[in-house]
Symmetry: C3
Subunit: 267 residues, 3 copies
């Protein structure tokens, strides 16, 4: 049986520098989530320096939530450096399917071989569909599809791209195209706090930069994150108190607790 | 007697998609406020896609807090689409009066016929004055005028623009130019948390997109927001704990509670 | 013995308008920190208006955390106006040393004679080294050097620039080039919350704009900030609850408490 707790210990030992090129809504909470977990975030995205910084970071997390033309150029340049250096980089194609610009930008980034692709069910379906020439329409950043509908597209996307693909939802689905996992940790209040999903992209980058095999680290990151949601919900009186308890929980969970409470099944 | 609780129920049933083009300071809290209330926020502002997204949203909230040239162009294009589609859009002319750029930008947006104009007393006075050729000087985003001084300018601005005009303060004033309301809900800690006023613009957009008559929905939104402030203040130890309790309260208030505690008077 | 409490009272009486040109990560918490302390923040950075706004503000805080070309131009223009008007302005050269763009931007801003320069040990060493033609490499925004290593560079930087120089860390060091102070207030959770250091730049600007002698006000600001960290840590369960308690504490501390608990030594 795989131990899902050890990757957390390894990540904390590595305390990896994670360069985040992420949307404005998520920057603060993403940095706080990474700090609470034990990683070292750096929010560096400007075209003037992002690619240079990609030369010294341990992982790169790219999120298109509020991107525009100059952001996309800096993302492409940084992803190329990450690829050349062989460091992990995560693509979070927020609300792909909602506008032409998101579809074009996601396609361009997908060609640069992300290490991990992470989206909700609607985003995974849309991104896989773009690859297959199928158009989809999302509703902002919130998923309108259930995770089950995203399983076949996720596997297909993993096979085409070579990335580990994650479809998040009440039960998360992770695949490298041949091996699949489901992670049942989590809580219904998580999507009620903006940008927790975005911040998860940074956490995945941190786990991927810490010496753990990629698929195992990604599954462990999802169980860790979902467990923090479960702990935060105990005693929360709404999404406001939940959000701060979630950050506290990220700092409190240790490997032993994670091993015991991870709800992972091969699928 | 008007029921001020039902518009909240209607908004939650509609769970409208609200496109927010808002300042960097407010994006996170505005998204969290909309999620806690039961709406679906989408922070989409880039010139490359904002107008296209305005084609699928249910409401649009425009806030000039940290705008610049390319933001203004995207705001104008999106407001035009909102106007063509007949969906509500809210203008929050933050700190109009403080710089020439804000005066020009607010004037340009005002010409595109916002559905609701929301500002503090100083902003309403400044915006009405610009229409009348009178110049005013604000002090950043904080009001230096009392609400009473904004009543005549608010009515005049409503008549000229055709919008519902809201002047926020310890007692809020709402007018469509002929019918006026005062809303006494609220708490002194609210202006001690940055961007709560900005986030209110999104809430007004959500209420306006839910089938409630515009004036009634706007008054209800203000009473709901102020009541959340009152509940949050109970047990708060400062603006930090107040802010999270405020988000919790938005999710806890229901129509019955709002009906009972709304402090609305015709004026 | 110097009274470190009175500058807080003076700052609250003045309630100075502080223009913040700061990184996206910090904008919200920086505004909330300034509001909780009793100042009046205005986040105004656009090239179209920043310099005009610098003409009416009482202090200016410049932070290069996520700057880019157009930000730098607006910062330079605003710093020039601040210099001409004789109002205090604070330079926070975040992660200087990490990229060429940061080194060039920091050098350009340093030439415009900041009133206060504030950084962690690594940033102070890097900035002093650039002046002396020595290159340094940082690791994002987190310090890799201890404060002791920054003392000589800080004194040298103060002498060369004419600014009060602050090196933050477990014990902060403040110097105007001839008189030096150490401030021992603070808590280990403070660097676990993103952008608290950035927000401190705004607090220093507020104290500097309130009639207190510059060095005394800066030391008092640091003691006040560190004391808020100490109070916040009591009962905090992690960085999430710490962050909100920190904002509460800023609003609760008064001059008497600060006088009693400030841990300042001449050095």
């Amino acid at each position: 049986m795989t131990d899902w707790g050890t990757p957390l210990t390894d990540m904390r030992k590595a305390a990896p520098l994670v360069q985040c090129m992420t949307n404005y809504v998520s920057m603060n909470i993403m940095a706080n989530v990474l700090l609470a977990a034990g990683a070292s975030p750096a929010m560096v995205h400007a075209e003037e320096e992002a690619a240079e910084f990609a030369g010294i970071t341990s992982a790169l997390a790219i999120n298109i939530g509020t991107f525009s033309g100059h952001w996309l150029r800096a993302m492409e340049a940084s992803a190329r450096v990450a690829g050349e250096r062989g460091i992990p980089w995560v693509l979070d194609p927020v609300a792909v399917g909602a506008t032409s610009f998101r579809n074009q930008g996601s396609t361009a980034l997908l060609k640069l071989s992300p290490t991990i692709i992470k989206g909700n069910a609607s985003e995974v379906i849309a991104l896989a569909g773009i690859g297959a020439g199928i158009s989809a329409k999302g509703k902002g950043a919130d998923a309108v599809h259930g995770v089950e509908a995203a399983i076949e597209p996720a596997i297909e996307l993993a096979r085409q791209s070579g990335a580990v693909v994650v479809a998040t939802g009440p039960v998360d689905f992770v695949t490298d195209g041949s091996t699949h996992y489901r992670i049942a940790n989590g809580h219904a209040l998580m999507p009620k706090v903006t940008a927790l999903g975005c911040a998860l992209g940074g956490i995945m980058g941190a786990f991927a930069a810490s010496g753990t095999p990629l698929l195992q680290g990604t599954v462990s990151a999802l169980a860790y994150y979902g467990l923090a949601g479960e702990l935060a919900a105990e005693g929360a009186e709404g999404p406001g108190s939940f959000a701060l308890r979630f950050v506290d929980a990220l700092s409190q969970i240790d490997a032993e607790m994670l091993s015991e409470r991870a709800q992972v099944t091969s699928a």
